[in-house]
């Protein structure tokens, strides 16, 4: 008799309980909240109107450059690292991305009206690896990535620019999709959460991830010095 109850009846009770729980909330007055939202939107509009100030655009452009590296130009170097497999760069789990048949769409850089020149260098002497990047790719609307080089060292910067991504899931996703091969997923570990940042290893490779107004972002060492202080790269050039 109990088992009869425990299916549908529980579902109904849970639904009703949740409904009442959410309806019991006393709401703040709408007008002040709307005024704050409008102010936030206006502020954002003004910021966007100022050219060459937003980093998101260069990041997207840089991401485009990186992806062509992953697909074409950087294929040899990346395959030597044993970590990157370009065919894994599909985002089938993210239907919100502008992907065609689960594959990254290719968009000329000129399609991005906000595009500005990306910084060529990062602190520490890392330079954007432009090798082979004659065209530009965009990973849907939400993803961007760039590969930087310093001598034989390489690191990848990845950004999920979608609204409010979850940082841990982002780390897990990039580890699965970009950073490591499927066999080493289990090795991915998020170690420390300090200053709102996540330090992680993906297949033994150190990485750091953080959230800011542009979304979830991460640096991951492809190959080179594992002692590199990734935090020092975040402040920007």
């Amino acid at each position: 008799m109990h088992s009869e109850r425990t299916g549908r009846s529980h579902e109904e009770i849970i639904r009703e309980a949740l409904q009442r729980e959410l309806e019991s909330v006393s709401y703040p007055p709408a007008e002040p909240l709307w005024a704050r939202i409008r102010a936030g939107l206006d502020r954002d509009k003004k910021e966007r109107a100022v050219p060459l100030t937003r980093s998101l655009s260069w990041r997207r452009l840089a991401g485009a450059a990186a992806l062509i590296l992953l697909f074409a130009g950087g294929g040899l170097a990346l395959s030597r690292s044993g970590l990157l497999t370009p065919q894994r760069l599909s985002y089938e789990e993210n239907a919100e991305l502008d992907c065609v048949d689960g594959k990254i769409s290719e968009v000329p850089s000129t399609a991005n009206a906000e595009a500005v020149t990306p910084p060529l260098t990062l602190p520490g002497g890392f330079a954007l690896d432009k090798e082979g990047a004659q065209e530009f790719f965009q990973a849907g609307n939400d993803y961007a990535a760039a590969v930087y080089r310093r001598g034989d060292e390489k690191l990848i910067w990845i950004c999920d620019c979608s609204p409010s991504p979850d940082l841990r899931e982002f780390v897990d996703r990039i580890s699965r999709k970009i950073g490591v091969s499927a066999e080493t997923i289990e090795d991915t570990s998020v170690n420390i959460c300090r200053d709102g940042m996540l330090e992680f290893t993906a297949g033994g490779r150190p990485g750091i991830a953080w959230l800011d107004q542009d979304g979830a972002q991460a640096f991951l060492i492809l190959h080179g010095s594992p002692d590199l202080d990734l935090r020092s790269l975040i402040s920007g050039p």
């Binding site: 009770i13 309980a17 009442r20 936030g40 993210n94 919100e96 939400d142 609204p163 409010s164």
Partner: protein, 194 residues
């Protein structure tokens, strides 16, 4: 009807339609955020940020009629991130007693109604103890009537993760509906209690 209107407003995407979308969704969005944070000021701030992010990215939304669940996903993700940043844990994992008077029992209630009201009060108390990631999925499933695949897509998690979070939440919520039965089971397995 509301779905069509919402889709139309999302397509228009001007000041007036954004205002109307706010009117339609701010209560349920705030309620979902408050359910996770249980803090008024933070819930207001997060609701505000969620609307701003949603309006900034509104052109990316493909299924225009899904603005509400999409906004809820943004808002509840922001709420969870806020908790992580603040390193706040409101979830204790311990059973919570329903608040006195939370069951809506009137003098004319039948015995069945009384039992149901008490059960609802217990589930409401248990809802408040859910970890944020489970509460988020419960809200998407039971409040927004989304299917698992839709929940997974909106939250950018795998369907398996969505399923397991929902399963764990259901187990937790159902447990408070069968407290005596649980005790009997433990007694049987454990060979009796003193």
């Amino acid at each position: 009807m509301e779905r069509e209107r919402v889709a139309q407003l999302v397509r228009q995407n001007d000041d007036a339609s954004r205002r109307e979308l706010f009117e339609i969704f701010y209560r349920r969005t705030y309620a979902a955020v408050f359910a996770i944070l249980r803090h008024r000021e933070s819930a207001e701030d997060i609701t505000q940020d969620a609307f701003i992010k949603a309006f900034q990215n509104i052109t990316r939304l493909r299924e225009k009629e899904k603005f509400g669940p999409w906004l809820a996903a943004i808002a509840t993700n922001l709420a969870r991130n806020h908790l992580k940043r603040e390193k706040r844990l409101y979830y204790s994992g311990n059973p919570v007693e329903p608040e006195a008077g939370s069951a809506q029992i009137t003098p004319s209630s039948t015995e069945e109604q009384v039992i149901r009201e008490e059960e609802i009060a217990r589930v409401r108390a248990a809802l408040r103890t859910l970890p944020p990631e489970q509460y988020q999925v419960v809200i998407m499933q039971y409040f927004y009537d989304l299917k698992l695949a839709e929940i997974a897509r909106l939250l950018k998690i795998s369907p398996g993760t969505a399923k397991s979070r929902l399963f764990r939440a259901r187990v937790r919520l159902s447990r408070v509906l069968e407290p005596k039965e649980d005790l009997i089971c433990q007694t049987d397995e454990g060979g009796g209690v003193d």
